[in-house]
Structures are given as C-alpha cells and as structure tokens.
C-alpha cells in the first residue's frame, strides 16, 4: 500500500521511539503524520498544546533550551507562517534542538485548498539563519530521513506531503545524508534536472520521454534544501551546461531560486524553473493544479528542451 511521506516519517519516529528515549513530541491538535497518536503509545513523552501553534513552538524552544530534543508536527502553513517568529527568534536564533515537521506541503495537498496548501514554505524557511531544511521524495526516503533527523542536532524543518506517490528509490540502496545531493543518473547528457521533493517521480518520467527523443537528461535529487549542496549544482552545470529545477513550491525564493543564485554567482548557464507560478493553491486534484502551474511531465520535457536550446 502506498503511504504518504508524512505518515511514513511519523511512523518511523514512533518506531525509533521504541529504542531511544532522547526526545519528546509536542502535539498541535491536527491529523498530520500519526505523531498525534504518540501520547497513546508513550504517554510520558508526549505533550498536548491544542490549537495554538505559536505556543507550540515557543514551549518547544523552552524545553529544548533545557537539553531535551522536541519534535513538533503541524501543517506547514501554520508552522512557517502562524508561528514564523517563534521558529525564527526562539528556535533558530539560539539554535535549539527542535525538529519541526510541516505537512501538507505543495500542490500535492490538492483538495485541502488555498488556506491549507503551503506554496511558499521553502521560500520563507530558507531565509531563516541556522535552519536546516530537508524534504523526502517518496516513502523510502522519508523512512531513511527519520533516523538521520533524530540524530541531527539543531533546528530542523522537515517538509512532508499529504498524498502518497509511488516509490522511486530502492530501499536496499537508498542513502540519505543531510547536506548531500543524490545523483540518480550521471552520464553524458545535455541537461540536468535538479529536483527536490515529491515531483522526483515525474522528473524521472520526463527524463525517460526525453531519452526516447534522443535527448539525454541527468537527474540529481536534493533531499536537503538548505544548506544547498552547491558542489552538486555546479557539477551538473559544468557537466551538462543547462539545468531545470523542479519543486512543488513557489518559484519565488524557493529551491529553484537558490540554485539560480549559485549559478549566477559562479557559473551562469541556461536555467529553467518548474514550480508554482506565483499563485495560491486551489481546491482541486493535484494533477489539475500541476497543469495550471505548468508543472506536468510534459512541461518538464519542454523546459528541458528550452534550456538546451538556450545554450546555442
């Protein structure tokens, strides 16, 4: 059965809790990632904070200041906007060990609609100093991330998704390391897709379609959005001379923008960005919303061709 990243990540944390006692869970009253059930399994290690996100983060900062790691989970929109200042000033400025799970990121959230779909969380969170941002691309990577996230010390934002997608990674070979990109295909090619998150599966489809047309495209996945693996960006730029960034977040200030910054300063080459086109989400199917924002597999193919075309 396909499970969304949020559920896989939350369940993995619950599994880890069986053999490690070095964290507590603060819950907002949301159904996000199964951690809302943590208190039923570990009553001594879960605390309820109700519908009050600012206090959720402020209190997590207080607990973490005393040396106990805190995991909080809520919708990404509430985490990074309702509680933005508490994340910034009380968690990130002092560098406290708080793991913040934001679910319902991107248009994959679909029918939940504009108020609940986080379209700008990467842009907001990456502007905050001291904050590390990671995002899985499927259930396999979500599971791998959970253990590493527990070992990580300091402010961490984990960007998670509402709906399931097919696995793209092989659990036997997948490795996740914070700060490192994964080159999924790395041969002679004319363009490289640089992708974060849940659209990776569609990117691989786009690369296959291009291949059928005789155009070779490499794919590099960035499970860590910040700090950006700049070396991997520049490596792709040097090797293929054109890149397409892909993210389920606004193109304004998001992952693609961070790649653009690195390229502009170091190795300017043609860049195309796939992402949300400066608009809110809407209540509707993710596919319809992806279509509206030119984020389909077909759009990725076109973007790759445009990027290659601009090399000449």
């Amino acid at each position: 059965m396909l499970l969304p990243t949020r559920i896989v990540f939350g369940d993995s944390i619950i599994e880890h809790a069986g053999h490690r006692d070095d964290f507590v869970v603060f819950n907002a009253d949301t159904k996000t990632c199964h951690l809302e059930n943590f208190g039923a399994i570990y009553p001594e290690r879960a605390y309820s904070f109700g519908i009050a996100e600012q206090n959720l983060i402020g209190a997590a900062a207080g607990m973490a200041s005393c040396g106990t790691k805190v995991i909080v989970a809520t919708y990404s929109v509430f985490l990074c906007m309702r509680a933005c200042e508490q994340v910034r000033t009380y968690v990130c400025q002092p560098g406290f060990d708080v793991m913040m799970l934001g679910t319902h990121a991107g248009l994959l959230t679909g029918t939940e609609g504009a108020s609940h779909i986080a379209v700008e969380d990467i842009s907001i969170m990456r502007a905050i100093p001291n904050l590390t941002i990671i995002e899985p691309s499927d259930a396999v990577s979500a599971r791998a991330m959970a253990g590493k996230a527990l070992d990580f010390q300091g402010p961490l934002y984990v960007r998670l998704h509402f709906a399931p997608v097919p696995d793209v990674h092989d659990p036997k070979t997948y490795r996740f390391e914070i700060g490192k990109a994964n080159m999924l295909t790395d041969g002679e090619a004319e363009v490289t897709f640089l992708v974060t998150g849940i659209l990776l599966g569609k990117v691989l489809e786009a690369a296959e379609l291009l291949k059928k047309e005789g155009i070779r495209a490499n794919v590099t996945e960035f499970p860590t959005i910040k700090p950006l693996d700049e070396e991997a960006v520049l490596c792709a730029a040097r090797k293929t001379g054109a890149v397409v960034t892909v993210e389920d977040n606004t193109i304004l200030g998001g992952f693609g923008a961070s790649v653009a910054e690195v390229l502009a300063e170091n190795h300017p080459i043609p860049l195309e960005r796939i992402g949300i086109r400066d608009r809110f989400g809407e209540s509707g199917s993710p596919d319809r919303l992806y279509e509206q924002n030119h984020m389909t597999v077909g759009d990725m193919v076109s973007a790759a061709k445009r990027a290659i075309g601009r090399k000449r």
Binding site: S48, G58, A59, G62, T89
Partner: protein, 280 residues
C-alpha cells in the same frame, strides 16, 4: 518577619536595589540608548529574584539543575545585565558597551551572554518559553523552578494567553510569572491603549493562582515568591510598580519608556537624582 528571610536580608536587598538603579542610570547616561522606564520599574523584582530566590551560580551558569529566569520584557535588559555583572556572570566593564557590536550586553537578551537562559525582545513570547522549561523540569522530575517577568503591555499579545492556558493544563506549579504592572506602555497608559483588566480575574479564569505584591517592596515580593512556591498551580505575581521608579522626573511618564541617541537626558536632573539619593 518571615521564616524565609531576615530583616538583614531585606536591608541588603534594598541597598542592592539602590546600587543597581545607580548602575543602570550610569549605563543610560553613557549610552543614551535603551529603555529606562521599564528597567527602573523592575529593579526590586530582579534584585529579590537574583539575590534571594533564584538558585543560580556564576561559576556554573549552565548548571542543568539551576532555576531558570526568562525576561519576557526583554527591553528591561539593562537591569538584568547590571545584576548579572554584579553577581559575576561577566565583567562589569561589559555594561559600558551596551548595544555595541560584540558586547555581551546586547540590546535584548541573547543566549551568548552568560546567565541568560532565553532569548527575548519580541514581546509576548517569554511565558511560552518558560512553560516549556517548567515542563522539562517536570519531565525530568527535577525541583528547579522557572520564573518569567512580563510587562503589563505585552499581555495584549495573544500568545501570552495561549501559554497561560497550557501552563495551567500541564499543572506547572513550578512556574512563576511576575507582571511588572507599571500601567504604562510606549505610547501611553495600558488601560487607554488596550485594557488588560480585570487582570486577576483573567489569570484566575485561566487556572492560575494570583498573588498581588508591591513591586517596589522587597519584603512584599519575597512574601509573594514564597507563597507562589507552595501553590499547586502556576502562580502569577501581579507586582504593582511605577515606571521610571527612583528617577523622579521619569516616574509614571510614558515618554521615558525608551531613549534614542538623540533623547535629551537632562544632565543636571540626572545629577539631581544621584544627589537626592546621597542625601538619604
């Protein structure tokens, strides 16, 4: 006289309050920056805490079993710095560089300063962080206490009441909130800008024990703290204070909430303050 303190303690704390007032006025006179009104109104409160109540040790400022203090009204930092320097957490010379680059005496409290337990400055956040700390002591079954000082104006922030609700819900009887109830905020009287009354009733309704105190009487404050320690719920001490207390031309005048480098701090009137003190 209480079982918990002697007449000598009270005299010592009163003298210390005068000393700290003098130190912070020197700081303001020198730097011409910061917030004198609220720094002066909280003097006795912080002196009572740091010289009699709190178990903290300058030799081991990160002791995990120390009592915690959060200055939610972070603009009152000069008083806290004067006290921390006096208690040996850092050199007194640091006070002269208040708000300068690299100083341990940052505009608002920052974790890099020895003795500071929580960042602050943005109003309305301190109670929330303090509640998290108190919850940690409960979880670890440790007996240290968490104290947080709030301004009265910042009670207008909704987060204060989120935190108040959570503290009572989690039965944080190891948490004491003190309100520096000087009745003024930057642009005028609290009750004219956005009333926070009826204050005791609000806290009681949120499940807190309420104790009222004279915020410029160390004896009254010590009594209130000792009462708070025996309660089975989080306790708020509403400390009635005067903004600008001790510097008569500043007393109860909102204008002296903050200084800018251009504020005309009348030198002769500053001297008047110090002369008047010496006469006593």
């Amino acid at each position: 006289m209480s079982y918990y303190y002697t007449e000598e303690d009270v005299t010592r704390l009163e003298q210390k309050s005068e000393e700290i007032r003098k130190t912070i006025m020197e700081l303001f006179e020198r730097t011409r920056m910061g917030h004198p009104g609220g720094s002066l109104s909280e003097v006795e409160i912080l002196v009572a805490l740091y010289y009699h109540i709190l178990r903290v040790n300058a030799e081991n400022p990160k002791d995990v079993l120390r009592d915690r203090f959060v200055l939610s009204k972070g603009h009152g930092s000069p008083t806290l710095y004067a006290i921390l320097a006096d208690r040996g957490f850092f050199a007194k010379e640091e006070l002269a560089s208040f708000r300068q680059f690299g100083s341990l005496c940052t505009s608002y409290p920052d974790m890099r300063t020895p003795g500071i337990d929580m960042v602050s400055g943005s109003l309305g956040n301190g109670l929330s962080a303090a509640a998290g700390m108190a919850l940690c002591a409960k979880r670890n079954k440790e007996d240290w206490k968490t104290y947080v000082l709030l301004g009265d104006g910042e009670l207008q922030e909704g987060l204060v009441w989120e935190a108040a609700m959570a503290a009572a819900y989690h039965r944080l009887d190891n948490l004491v909130a003190i309100i520096d109830n000087n009745g003024l905020q930057i642009n005028g009287r609290v009750n004219e800008i956005m009333t926070i009354e009826p204050l005791p009733d609000k806290w009681k309704a949120f499940g807190w024990e309420v104790v009222e105190a004279d915020g410029h009487s160390v004896k009254s404050l010590l009594d209130a703290c000792h009462i708070a320690m025996k309660k089975c719920a989080p306790t708020v001490i509403i400390a009635h204070t005067v903004k600008g207390k001790g510097v008569h031309f500043m007393e109860d005048i909102a204008y002296w909430h903050s200084l800018t480098p251009n504020t005309d701090l009348p030198a002769e009137r500053m001297r008047e303050y110090f002369d008047r003190r010496q006469e006593r």
